[in-house]
């Protein structure tokens, strides 16, 4: 699949209802240690018994910070240190251009990848790519997702239907439902 895994040493953004699957798939493809940075007030939390199909929960550390400044500072520190191969940053407020640019520089210095999980329309222009991820209903499969790349600094845009195979831990691309042979598409 083009553009995936995401370019190393850059900061990327993703949003949408299927963004967690995107993040864990990316972590599984990159491998190595992952740092997940998020707000401490968030009641939603990632569940290790769920994502152990993607990565080993031993390889993930979670930092909880009290505000966005701390979150970005931690992310920058972690990216710059090069001790983790992927930093996943969950932000709740809009990301300014300065903040995005700083993450970009930190990722370049530490040669690690940053993935910022944003809300819709809250990204910064400094991001290398921006992805919209959403799960798609498929009567035959329960892992089908549609990933749209909606911003790309170094390539074209596109959309892909992918599914995650938990047994072999790989991502496979599938044709869109309407074009599949022998498929009638999703019933209404």
């Amino acid at each position: 699949m083009p553009h995936f895994p995401l370019t190393k040493g850059r900061a990327h953004e993703a949003f949408g209802p299927g963004v967690h699957v995107f993040a864990f798939t990316l972590a599984a493809r990159i491998g190595g240690q992952v740092l997940w940075v998020r707000d401490d007030w968030q009641a939603d939390q990632i569940n290790p018994t769920g994502f152990c199909d993607f990565i080993d929960p031993r390889d993930i550390l979670v930092s909880v910070a009290k505000d966005q400044t701390d979150i970005l500072a931690i992310a920058e520190e972690a990216l710059r240190s090069g001790a983790v191969s992927l930093v996943i940053v969950e932000v709740s407020k809009a990301l300014s251009l300065t903040a995005g640019r700083r993450l970009q520089l930190a990722a370049r210095n530490g040669k690690s990848t940053a993935l910022v999980i944003i809300s819709d329309g809250m990204g910064s222009n400094a991001a290398e790519t921006r992805w919209y991820c959403t799960p798609v209903f498929d009567p035959y499969d329960s892992t089908l997702h549609r990933w749209d790349i909606i911003k790309n600094k170094s390539g074209t845009l596109g959309a892909w239907y992918v599914k995650w195979d938990a047994a072999s831990r790989r991502l496979s691309m599938v044709s869109p439902a309407g074009q599949r042979t022998g498929s009638t598409g999703a019933p209404n």
Binding site: P17, G18, H20, V21, F24, Q33, L35, D40, A43, D44, Q45, I46, N47, P48, T49, G50, F51, C52, D53, D56, P57, R58, I60, L61, V62, S63, V64, A65, K66, D70, A73, I74, E77, A78, S81, G82, A83, V84, T134, P135, V136, F137, P139, S142, T143, H145, A166, A186, P187, N188
Partner: protein, 433 residues
């Protein structure tokens, strides 16, 4: 004597529960204080100290002046003391326990003659037997023929006698000082530049780490106290994710704290103390065990200086079928990663506190609203019944057993719903995607 009887004699008597461990600790503190008089200080029994003052009494102007000084200082501290001073350890013990005084030099027998035989550090059994024989004073014992005494009581009694009288040698074993993990530096001129403070801290750190290495210890919490010219002081604390003793690794972690120091008119004294220590045995360095892992621990420390060391967490497996309790969250700095993750059934990627949705019946609702979205369920897998752990009183499980359903909606969302048959309600508990 029972307490009631003792109260009858002395109405003001106060009682406290005995705490031998604390008494011992106090005795060790007192031992340390006594090194002001001489370097050889040991512990004697449960309630005594033994000092070898040979060659150090002249500093305070002779033995009598030294004893007077000791008595005065201890009386000021509220301690009553019995002191015996003699040429031998045995005689000094006898005087301290039974006479309290100074024996004239080279005449032990003269000082001990009138003391009871118990002053010879003998056990109770021997003491009672000697009393029955009519040998009550040490003077009586000296004049008795030695051979029958040895035959009857063994060599121990006469050994004690000879030690007291100086015919047999006896050593004093001073207790070694416990290693002290603090170093300090006093500066001739106050400093204020960041580079100077960093250089000073580095010097102290190298000294401290040399000490740590010799004792095979590593430091977990470091505290640097900077005293300023105006008597104010500032502290920089560093908490490490792993016990370390390598100055090259600790120093970069310290810098962030040093930048926040307000030097004022200048700093003229620095003190670096290892507050919390852990044993770190020397081990073979290889590429696999070090490198990346060290970098990660340094990162946890550096993040910890900003948000606190306990806010970087890791997941540990737990043995429970309750979804919320099937894993533990522990601070990464105080735990080791553990494997053994396995799930029999797919579990959602995200869990949240159960959110109520409208629905009825034991089958998942065909249509429901959740977080402002209206969703139509297209496929449901389940139910999977999970019963509460009755041995734990969990507020979240007061609605009883839960039937979990993996519901796929036409809108794409894949949710983890549950139904509580004992109290018919529907909830959303997690999301698969």
């Amino acid at each position: 004597m029972p307490y009631a009887d003792a109260r009858a004699f002395c109405p003001d008597l106060q009682s406290r529960p005995a705490d031998p461990a604390r008494d011992q600790r106090f005795l060790h503190i007192l031992r340390r204080w006594f090194t002001r008089y001489c370097p050889w200080v040991g512990i004697e029994g449960a309630d005594g100290l033994v000092l070898d003052v040979t060659g150090s009494s002249h500093i305070l102007g002779g033995e009598d002046a030294m004893l007077a000084d000791m008595r005065a200082r201890l009386a000021r501290a509220g301690l009553s003391v019995q002191i015996g001073l003699a040429d031998t350890r045995g005689a000094a013990w006898a005087l301290a326990h039974h006479a309290d005084g100074v024996a004239p030099p080279n005449d032990m027998l003269g000082a001990l003659r009138s003391l009871p035989v118990a002053a010879l550090r003998i056990d109770d059994k021997t003491n009672i037997a000697l009393q029955r024989l009519g040998l009550r004073k040490i003077g009586d014992l000296v004049t008795t023929p030695r051979a029958p005494l040895t035959r009857r009581f063994g060599p121990d009694l006469l050994l004690r006698l000879d030690q007291a009288l100086g015919a047999q040698p006896e050593q004093i074993t001073p207790i070694a000082e416990p290693p002290h993990y603090a170093v300090r530096m006093t500066l001739p001129e106050p400093i204020g530049l960041l580079n100077d403070v960093v250089a000073g801290a580095e010097r102290l750190l190298i000294q401290l780490c040399t000490k740590l290495k010799a004792q095979e210890m590593g430091v977990r919490v470091l505290c640097l106290t900077l005293r300023r010219v105006d008597q104010d002081h500032q502290q920089v604390e560093l908490r490490l994710a792993r016990a370390l003793r390598d100055p090259d690794r600790i120093m970069p972690l310290f810098k962030q704290g040093l930048e926040a120091v307000e030097a004022g008119f200048g700093i003229d004294q620095m003190r670096l103390e290892a507050v919390q220590l852990e044993p770190v045995p020397i081990r073979q360095i290889n590429y696999v065990t070090t490198g990346q892992k060290d970098k990660l621990n340094d990162l946890i420390t550096r993040i910890g200086t900003r948000i606190g060391l306990e806010n970087t967490l890791r997941f540990l497996p737990a043995d429970s079928h309750i979804p919320e309790r099937s894993f533990l969250i522990a601070p990464a700095a105080y735990s080791e990663p553990e494997g053994g993750w396995s799930t029999l059934r797919p579990r959602p990627l995200r869990l949240f506190p159960p959110e109520f949705i409208a629905g009825s019946g034991s089958q998942p609702p065909k249509w429901f609203r959740w977080r402002g979205m209206s969703l139509t369920s297209a496929r449901a897998i389940g139910p999977e019944r999970i019963a509460p752990e009755w041995w734990l009183n969990d507020e979240n499980w007061r609605l009883g057993v839960r039937d979990y359903w993996h519901v796929q909606t036409k809108q794409g969302r894949r949710l983890w719903l549950y139904y509580t048959p004992q109290n018919p309600h529907w909830f959303v508990h997690g999301e698969f995607a």
